[in-house]
Symmetry: C2
């Protein structure tokens, strides 16, 4: 499968623009754990994900983290080109959570296309609005939802992403996703266990009562 | 002063697009307290602010609030046209905090321009990125900053907006800006008073030690 199949507006671009994209896009595969973007330090360009999973997150000065959103197959990562987007004045980090295969559209090609193609500009708009929506959802969660609901939602989402009810994830990692301390996660998981919703084993969390977690959520 | 002077990209539009804008834009003045946008219930269009102050905020199901950003003279309010922006899947409210005079560009005119003008599309992009930056700043504040710092920042910002060190604002209103309960605001303000930073009087907060508040911030 080629880039043209994964880039939604490809068919709507001019032949010249299509050629520009295809001649400058490079394909890359990175192992899980690779830091792909870190604020202004890096500027790879737009990433078109063929297969895999990326995580976009905020980090504090003290090294705390919170997940903003995740990207999967056929998603487009826009903010890895933030260096050529003057009005984006915030810094996020992007890491591969799984082995990920993607095409890179270099920043100057992105800039060229967005400056010259109405289709491309409107598509950028749409992508940004989608990520904005993700972040606003998170804002509402942080602001109005209690932590038990957020944790229940996270566990159910992980089950859905991984296609299993046995999650191999540390309390530390969950804390980094949800922007809290490990102790807070451990305490709530123990409460979930006491209520019969999960079973905690070494290095794994087994979901026992999905329905009860959903009710909580 | 005409709309053309307040709309930054006006000179870059075609004569036809300029005529379209001018013939469909209407001017309106609303008193302080007017609710201009409330999620999907309203769809005025793009607002170009001539004079005044708007507040964009989130509301919870329980009626709690948190301010996302404010708009002033020469700012453009984009999300009051969210009905024609398909990828915007969140609902915010927008209220006039002061008497505000603005031009309204109807949603179908906005849609026409964004669909046909590269300049307009890129400008929309830039506006959205700016608001996205505002929201990400807020997210970092909520997530990593303690409440004393957020309150100190808010008081200093209000002084700067109002051009005074005597703020006529209720603890209730501050709570709605910062997304917390009134009691939390009152408690922290009393602490600020005990530390000699502010003086609390009936219906007003006087800033006594700006420097100390800045240090806190």
């Amino acid at each position: 499968m080629a880039l043209s199949e994964y880039f939604p507006i490809f068919d709507k671009l001019t032949a010249e623009q299509q050629a520009l994209l295809l001649s400058h896009a490079t394909k890359r595969t990175v192992p899980a754990g690779t830091l792909l973007h870190n604020g202004d330090e890096t500027c790879m360009g737009i990433l078109v994900i063929r297969e895999g999973q990326l995580r976009a997150y905020l980090t504090s000065d003290e090294g705390r983290e919170i997940t903003l959103y995740r990207l999967f197959s056929r998603d487009i990562c826009l903010f890895s080109a933030s260096c050529v987007m003057n009005s984006i004045q915030f810094e996020i980090a992007i890491t591969a959570e799984k082995e990920t295969e993607f095409w890179i559209i270099p920043p100057y090609i992105y800039k060229n296309l967005v400056d010259n193609s109405l289709i491309f500009s409107n598509y950028t708009n749409q992508l940004m609005a989608t990520r904005f929506t993700d972040v606003m959802w998170l804002m509402e969660q942080i602001q109005w939802k209690s932590f038990d609901k957020r944790l229940a939602h996270f566990l159910l989402e992980e089950c859905s992403i991984e296609g299993t009810t046995v999650l191999k994830i540390t309390h530390e990692k969950i804390a980094a996703h949800l922007g809290t301390a490990r102790e807070v996660v451990t305490r709530m998981l123990k409460y979930f266990q006491a209520e019969g919703m999960v079973l905690l084993t070494r290095g794994a969390i087994e979901i026992l009562d999905e329905e009860k977690l959903e009710e909580l959520e």
